[in-house]
Symmetry: C2
Subunit: 444 residues, 2 copies
């Protein structure tokens, strides 16, 4: 049995009772984090581009748009909600692959869940299994696939959304294999678009592609049986090397969710240990921007590959500037969405500080670590080594920190009272009779 069929069976046949409690709990945390970042992002002006398009194109009211009164088709809802989930780069990261798995997977699970009147537990289970499928496939082509320039959230995301959608649609095994095929042959998204709306679009389009794959397969649409392992399939075409054992080995025993970290900062994950260090300079050593002569950092290679942008011109570019992210870490003590507005990236204090920051690659630096030295006008220099960035698997956000993040973000669009009720209900999502109730509670 090939990897595709194995994964299809796993996604269909694993009962929720076979998933360990800590994994289900991690799935809940992903859903809470997802709704928090998507609700916050729903107030972004770019969302009107999508809602305007949906109004023009139409769509039956089958599923909710987050942060809106509009109900629309499953595909539209998946597209917009996936976009919102990734817009602030504040969602989550599967550290071994740099996939942001919730943004493509959860919108698909919830939208299809609404159509099916699925329980909260059904949607939570589909989320966990979809994320597992997505991350396993990512592992099978990592690091070659990402190194080639693919945005792995866009490409592997289609499998997470298709697996979640297909399970909730009640596909049979043959249909699920076809759904994975239809999804995989839509896998797309290149890194050249980073710093523009097209980056979060990848997550939305992946969510939509997976929903489309599930819906088509449920009606008898056909594809290949071997999208993952085939000679002209996903791994062979989109990667220079692959290892199918990463997909099938100990499936259902070893889980990838513990390697998925919720993001404490609203920007590219590779800068997070750098921000941690800058916050330590500020809060522990009392360093102020005007005291700084220079900042030097030793970093893992992806920092310069992805985030070397001395002077971002707009907020979305700031999210891919380690200089900007470090500067706001020192000046503001955090790197939240308000640090990545179009105005904030042009602030003179921040701009001046960015000019003093220089990073050098240390190929031996672990992915979640960094070493930063600040030299001050009084002659002192201070070095901080961060071994595991906040939010990394070895240093995860606690449930209480996640609640703070949720309350802070959601306050942009929901009242305190509504936010608390929603949060309480989300921790009990496995006891919710119909997932539509959650979307109703989340409506501003």
């Amino acid at each position: 049995m090939g990897a595709t069929e194995t994964l299809a069976r796993f996604a269909l046949n694993t009962p929720s009772t076979a998933i360990p409690d800590p994994i289900l709990h991690e799935g809940k945390r992903c859903i809470i984090n997802y709704l928090a970042v998507a609700l916050y992002a729903s107030a972004d002006p770019s969302m009107q581009i999508l809602t305007g398009l949906f109004e023009e194109e139409g769509g039956n009211p089958q599923a909710a748009l987050i942060g809106s009164d509009m109900r629309t088709s499953l595909q539209n809802a998946a597209l917009a909600n996936g976009y919102l989930a990734h817009l602030e780069d504040y969602d989550d990261t599967h550290f071994p692959t740099v996939i942001h798995p919730s943004a493509p997977t959860i919108p698909a699970a919830i939208a299809v869940g609404e159509r099916q009147n699925a329980t909260g537990l059904d949607v939570l289970t589909a989320t966990v299994l979809g994320i597992e499928a997505c991350c396993r496939i990512g592992l099978s082509v990592h690091p070659h696939h990402y190194d080639a320039g693919w945005h792995i959230t866009g490409t592997c995301g289609v499998f997470g959304s298709a697996a979640a959608a297909g399970r909730l649609l009640g596909l049979d095994e043959g249909q699920m294999v076809n759904a994975l095929g239809i999804a995989g042959t839509q896998a797309a998204g290149v890194r050249e678009t980073f710093g523009s709306m097209s980056k979060p679009f990848h997550a939305g389009r992946s969510a939509q592609s997976g929903v489309l794959a599930g819906l088509l397969a449920s009606r008898g649409f056909t594809s290949t049986d071997t999208i993952l392992e085939g000679r002209r399939g996903f791994a062979a075409v989109l990667s220079t090397a692959s290892d199918m054992a990463q997909i099938t080995e100990a499936l259902g025993e070893r889980w990838e969710l513990p390697n998925n970290g919720l993001k404490p900062y609203s920007c590219g994950v590779v800068s997070h240990p750098l921000i941690d260090a800058m916050i330590i300079f500020r809060n522990t050593h009392g360093v102020k921007a005007e005291d700084v002569v220079s900042v030097t950092a030793n970093v893992q290679p992806l920092v310069l590959e992805l985030m070397d942008r001395q002077h971002p011109r707009i907020g979305l570019e700031g999210k891919f500037s380690h200089q900007h992210s470090m500067a706001v870490g020192l000046v503001d003590g955090g790197a939240f969405p308000e640090q990545y507005t179009d105005e904030r990236v042009l602030d003179p204090t921040i701009t001046a500080l960015r000019d003093k920051i220089k990073a050098t690659v240390d190929p031996k630096m672990p992915d979640d670590a960094a070493e930063v030295t600040v030299t001050l006008k009084d002659g002192r220099s201070i070095t901080e080594k961060v071994d595991h960035a906040t939010g990394a698997p070895e240093n995860p956000m606690s449930d209480s920190q996640l609640e703070d993040k949720f309350r802070n973000l959601v306050s942009r669009v929901l009242s305190k009272n509504q936010s608390e009720k929603l949060l309480t209900r989300l921790w009990d999502i496995d006891k919710v009779d119909n997932v539509g109730e959650i979307m109703e509670m989340a409506r501003p």
Copy 2:
């Protein structure tokens, strides 16, 4: 100025008067051929999968589905009509790249043309420019891109549809650059799916992706400025080598449409010279299936790469079996849609003949040539060398042959009277005030 910006300006700023008459005529032929194959395919049962989905998901009545009374959203129409155009593998082929450029481009041009109440000349011009963009980009990554396993119609098709849609939407240059970026970051489609519904789905999804890109860009959605030439852009990520000069060199002076051939047979184009030879055996030498001991063929490498399938199980697989295509060429004297039904691929006479056919790669064989030898029970053996397959640029279908193809295919769904009126009007599409009139005339 980079390739992306150059191409965006070309697609926007070239007036129809700057396009030579023979190129516009070739564009007309593409539109006639497109409507013929799509109208024929509209009676395929798989179309009900798409119309059923559209009914469930909804969509405002903005554009026509070919062969149907349904009007739906631009994106739905582009998806379904692109699917229909490629379903029978009977559309057209840009020989230098093996792109089938009409199937993704024309549905986008017509759907957006309907929204804009565009003239026939506007749609014809957008078609010609979209196909040029699509084929130029294909040339820039050929043969590496296709060899890697990409279905180049799916991947490069997004640029054809985005260019056509963007022009008809009246985008400005910055928006068109963004539209190409949004399109290119959706480029997808792997060859593992050949022989299933997912192959024609690539053409439909490309048409839809380009329409979506145009609509989003028109509303201010952003992307990269350098989707084609960027370090992590389309060419760098989806090909091991590329040449941007293929996109920009003599743009507007040298045209790719003369290298695009309309298909005389309803199957993978690389088998066409083989079918030609088998028809010569039948019609000129009177060879019958029961006389044959063996058939040997010398072929270009892609024949075995793409179409080595001794015993296809369903019609769609038959389209990617050179053995089946050769067998029906000898038995039936043609390779039309009726030769690729699920029943026909299981016919005992055909099955027995397929077993006697063997092809060998000759790396020096030109793409549109083949040499076939049949050995007969009476001891004779006959060899036919085909230098240029029917439908190849050096041996194109005449306008009269195209009319025969149109009449034959369209008779499946339109009356003779309606078919003749439509054909006459299509030859005059450049004089049609509103392209919606054409779609109305084509409604069964």
